[in-house]
Symmetry: C2
Subunit: 120 residues, 2 copies
């Protein structure tokens, strides 16, 4: 029983946070049976935060959780803040396996996506 | 003679800014003859800033410049700050045609990219 959590920075702007919620819904549809749960969380400012989202996901019986940092750069948030939260989560839920993928900005397909978007 | 400028937020972290430079190089290679110039700029904190980058691009003889906001959300930067800079650039370079694409986070392929990245 595995889950995917899309982790965004979080914004003071409600519409930006809503964009993440909608994105997670699209990912959920596309994921089909790859993940039993697809959810989203925010690192700062907005709720739900990552630890709360993880707790809720574990309560649903998930035993493997992948966190995808929805960040364009591998900065302090990605390299320090997120691993620190995952460490806390691992201590809290020792029977759950956690994985953090590299951030979305590291995608090899990003240059092609940029060219595609620039046309629109 | 058209140009593409990838506009990132800009970071205090040198490595993050360097990631944008490298990304622009990859886009340039992939773009082949689509753009005569592919460059990058930062909205805040880091240099080159957008207006400077535009000036330099116009000096190279470019008559059409597409700015791609390398942002995940359509927040204040995308909706207010970038259009304001483009307005200034348009007044300064009336013979150059400017286009601002929607931000990279709006890409329809983003949900698929998230699922792909989550596997790694």
């Amino acid at each position: 029983m595995n889950a995917l959590i899309i982790l965004a920075h979080g914004s003071r702007r409600k519409e930006s946070n809503l964009e993440i919620k909608k994105l997670a819904e699209k990912v959920k549809t596309l994921a089909e049976s790859d993940y039993s749960v697809v959810d989203y969380a925010y690192l700062e400012i907005a709720e739900p935060n990552l630890l709360y989202c993880i707790d809720k996901t574990v309560e649903k019986g998930m035993t493997e959780i992948t966190v995808l940092p929805y960040f364009l750069n591998s900065g302090v948030h990605v390299e320090r803040d997120i691993p620190a939260i995952i460490e806390t989560a691992t201590e809290k839920h020792p029977d759950c396996k956690f994985k953090v993928s590299s951030c979305i900005g590291m995608s090899e397909e990003m240059p092609a996506m940029i060219l595609e978007r620039a046309k629109l």
